[in-house]
Symmetry: C2
Subunit: 336 residues, 2 copies
DNA sequence: TGCGCAACTGTTAACGTTAATATTTGATAG
DNA sequence: CTATCAAATATTAACGTTAACAGTTGCGCA
């Protein structure tokens, strides 16, 4: 008579293999000092019973899991959305799994709660995307010793940080436009409370002042094509605008459309550069010159830093600033 | 002397409150038959110690967790990417958390492995996005009684299914074009092994035959703007093409660009309709008429079905086919 | 043949919950 | 005042692992 009511546990395997459950545990965890013959017998028993170790029991016994907690604002923004899957995949390669807490707003309270829920599950470490100030504050509530990587966080904060070099990217974009012969470059920015926005504004300003060019006022946007479109309508009316650096590709898309509607040709009348290199950017009208951050590299670096901390059992204060690449397409040309 | 080495456990709370740990458990789980006075005392003790229950122990004791497993191909496609966050958020509202297994390919083996890892963690249920056949097969390996919802899966398979009504959407798109006066409508499709593609092709054909219109050959694409561009170049060369239904917005973007390059105006010379209503679609040149599926609703429905199963303790065979909406913009007009 | 020591294996006790069962308390009816 | 019974609380035993330690083998060497 079979009794399939309960899933096989370690003791069942042990009985079948004629060893103690501890030996099964040793085989499972690759401990040395197990005779090859017994190892094989145990593995056969595992196979035969279709035994799978119970994670919860392991977590309880060891006090830690092979799970990484991930906190981010729920969003269909290209960057964050790519991060979830890239991270989950990178984690898998290292034998970890990812638990996602997706929150609506980046205020301190919800972020704190989300982190709390993850800690309750004894996650081995945390990767958080905290691109604005309010969210970063929540990190103060954390215990000191939990491994943590902050993606796109406050560069001034002394946590482990992984981020794209926003300033370098913005500089490259701006310089590229100046080198094409433009006297100055306008900028349509992201939301002011995002560190990414701040970095891109800083890089743009830097490039302009380095070149001795005028620094026009920042046109504020919010990452959306809609806000790019609004800014674009204003820019299209001013006849001294020949070059625009948009803080991301969607803003650029809105700008392209506004320029098109006002009869301004790109790049003949106005040159445009974006940021992100979304997969569609190459098919905008015209194909968009843009800055490409490597999101896979960000995910991989985040995981590297996190796993190093997990191994070390403490924070390491490491950080990675990844340089983005300028992708030249047809939206940039000399001024006419 | 304080000993903060160990985190407070239920017994610590019990001691402080002067009750047994079982009473603490009862308070925590909202069981009846606890005197108000003791409840308050226990809660005070919990507060004072900063006690947080250990999930792993609970999972071990109950045999189930408040975690939902999510399996999907790692991808930055708009649909799937939106689903992760939408689902995580919906889950949170119901007191669940989401564990993501993101895999590179939808072959049977990796899908099976991913599901296995989730089962090891005793997830309460599974939400899987299995838009192609090979992946669906992996579902056969599952135990019968684990709650499961299949998003975008095989409509012919007898699992709980949540999906957008692809046929209805495609029909609406095609009919909209026919009603604008076009004699027929061309279709640039998604990859042939996706159920979504199949449904959209079927709906498009149906609408055409219902209207007694010619059914042109399907132009195959792969969801990418690049493949849309290629198809668009071919379409632009044929002078009897006046209307195109693209299987998604990115394909449509590529088509728009190809038409633009060949000097074909949209919508004067050719009308185009997309599918998905990505946030940028309203800023294409021209703004794209498209079909909008409600991804939040898909996520919410998935969770509803899953939770119903979890409560019932078995599969229920329920399914939800959600109707999408036609969003009219400026890429459609009468033939000239 | 037996000694010693490493290699291997087994035994027992955690880990922190919930479930099942036992006990105490307190109110109510007689 | 007590018997009864429900409500409230306590006790004990799982759940399935790993850790710590104890015990047993077997081999090389004297």
């Amino acid at each position: 008579m079979v009794k399939p009511a309960r899933e096989p546990a370690m003791t069942d395997v042990a009985k079948l293999a004629g060893v103690s459950h501890q030996t099964v545990s040793r085989v499972l965890n690759g401990h040395p000092n197990v005779r090859t013959r017994t190892r094989i017998r145990v593995q056969a028993a595992i196979e035969e019973l279709g035994y799978r170790p119970n994670r919860a029991a392991r977590v309880l016994a060891t006090g830690t899991s092979q799970v990484i907690g991930f906190v981010s604002r729920s969003s269909t923004l290209f960057g964050p959305a790519s991060m979830v899957t890239a991270l989950a995949e990178a984690a898998l390669r290292q034998g970890f799994t990812v638990n996602v807490e997706s929150i609506r707003t980046l205020d301190r309270k919800p972020v704190s709660d989300a982190i709390g829920r993850l800690l309750d599950q004894r996650v081995a470490g945390l990767v958080v995307i905290m691109p604005v100030d309010s969210a970063n504050d929540a990190l103060d509530d954390l215990p000191e010793d939990i491994p943590l990587v902050n993606v796109d966080g406050d560069p001034r904060r002394p946590t482990e940080l992984v981020t794209v070099d926003q300033e370098a990217g913005a500089k490259a974009a701006t310089t590229h436009l100046l080198e094409a012969g433009h006297r100055t470059v306008w900028h349509v920015s992201g939301p002011g409370n995002w560190f990414d926005s701040q970095g891109r504004i800083a890089g743009w300003q830097q490039a302009l002042t380095d070149a001795g060019a005028d620094v026009p006022p920042v046109m504020p946007g919010d990452w959306s094509a809609a806000s790019g479109y609004k800014a674009g309508q204003i820019l299209a009316r001013m006849n001294d605008v020949t070059a625009v650096f948009a803080a991301n590709d969607h803003l650029a898309l809105g700008i392209l459309r506004a320029l098109h509607e006002k009869g301004q040709r790109v790049p003949e009348d106005v040159s445009v550069v974006g940021f992100d290199d979304v997969p569609e950017a190459a098919y905008f009208i015209p194909p968009l010159t843009t800055i490409r951050p490597d999101f896979d590299a960000v995910a991989a670096a985040s995981l590297d830093l996190l796993i190093a901390q997990i191994r070390a059992g403490r924070r390491l204060g490491d950080r990675r600033i990844l340089p983005p690449t300028l992708i030249k397409r047809q939206s940039v040309g000399p001024p006419s």
